[in-house]
Amino acid sequence: MAGQRRGHAYPGRLIAVEGLDGSGKSTQIYLVKRWLELQNLKVFFTEWNSSVIVKNATKRGKKRQLLTPTTFSLIHCTDFADRYEHQVLPLLQAGYIVLADRYVFTAFARDIVRGCDREWVHNLYSFAVEPDITFFFKVPLDTALGRILGGRPSLKYFEAGMDLGLSPDPYESFRLFQKRINDVYLKMVREFGFVAVDASQASEVQQEQVRAIITERIDLPGFRWHTRR
């Protein structure tokens, strides 16, 4: 399963962004979305952990700290499957450009850091097609930490990786957790053919690079609306 390419033959295209919290990837994908929309292309945007039906259970589990690495992994996969089968897959079949703010690689990184078996997690998500392009926003760990810890004083339990028992201090725990996540991401760059973007550059410079790669790899005019709007 691992490293095996699961390309797809659907008329649509899937672009995913990955990176640490604070890497600026959400800003970049938002700008991509606007850029494509303004060209009158069929675009759909989806983000991690947003399925309505699964949200309540996830929230309760997190709030009451009921989750183990295995249930944490499964509940996020449930959420992902709901969005994937209701939105991502049908839209790829319908010929959309689907933009995903975090995709299966986020789960791989988090679950593996939490101690789940790598093969097991990869198999769990094996129903999902691999993106046509995955941008990885590579940022020095300290920069990402500074952006997050500087702006937001309170960290949630699972967000800080407190369940790993790395440190009783949420800030220290977050640092150690993000470091481990980053290590897994870096290993995945080659395995999954990520396009690494230097996220310490100015935002508009990054966007220019991202747009150039998309233009090169995807025949954008083919994704215009055919119906009148």
Binding site: L74, T78, E85, H86
Partner: protein, 230 residues
């Protein structure tokens, strides 16, 4: 010594699981829950601390699962992952601690029902097997086989109606619920027979009297308990 079907659970060593795990499988109306109750009473009478688990009983997701089943809004894979989450929650929070404490765990349905339900709906068996590689291999698994005709009768006796999911109505086998129930239960049974080869169930004839089945179960459980005493 216990083992896992696949990769197991992070942080759980199978050698620490000194209790006994008994799984009881069978359709609604197969007498499964009645037998689970009788077996629990028998075990407790013999002095074995017994913990009962079943499907859709986790604190984590059982509420959402029930709601989702009402509306039939989840895709097959989402529903199956929801069930897997429910199972994993109980596995880690109830089954593992009880087995560590040396208790007997009686599972009123286990992963096989979940696999069978998915497999008859076109689920990928290899995917399911890996998913449930977190499960502990029970010391013994019983499958109460009751003919679909008899199941219908018992379901009507009990509820005066057939359950939507137990009739496999989502599969579109027949617009007629009665026909759908028979077809669906036939498919599930075929799936269990297929799994029997891989997982080694004890298949019990569930068309017999409650008492006869109960005696049969006790006789088959007894040797497992003895091995522990030795």
């Amino acid at each position: 010594m216990k083992r896992f079907y696949g990769r197991g659970l992070p942080g759980v060593a199978s050698r620490d699981l000194s209790g006994k795990l008994i799984a009881l499988e069978g359709a609604d109306g197969s007498g499964r829950s009645t037998q689970a109750e009788l077996l629990t009473a028998w075990l407790e009478r013999k002095g074995f601390a017994t913990v009962n688990v079943g499907l859709n009983r986790s604190t984590l997701v059982s509420k959402e699962l029930s709601r989702a089943k009402q509306g039939n809004v989840l895709s097959q894979r989402t529903l199956s992952l929801f069930y897997a989450t429910d199972f994993a929650d109980q596995l880690e929070n109830r089954i593992v601690p009880a087995l560590k404490a040396g208790f007997v765990v009686l599972a009123d349905r286990y992963i096989y029902t979940l696999i069978a339900r998915d497999a008859v709906r076109g689920g990928d068996r290899a995917w399911l097997e890996s998913l449930y590689g977190i499960a502990i291999v029970p010391d013994i698994v019983f499958y109460l086989r009751v003919s679909p005709r008899q199941l219908v009768e018992r379901n009507f006796q009990k509820h005066a109606t057939l359950d939507y999911w137990e009739s496999g109505m989502d599969l579109g086998l027949s617009r007629d619920m009665f026909q759908s129930f028979l077809k669906y239960q036939g498919l599930i049974q075929a799936e269990f027979e297929r799994m029997q080869k891989a997982y080694g169930f004890d298949i019990l004839n569930g068309n017999r009297s409650i008492r006869a089945i109960s005696k049969d179960l006790q006789a088959r459980v007894e040797p497992i308990l003895e091995r522990r005493a030795a």
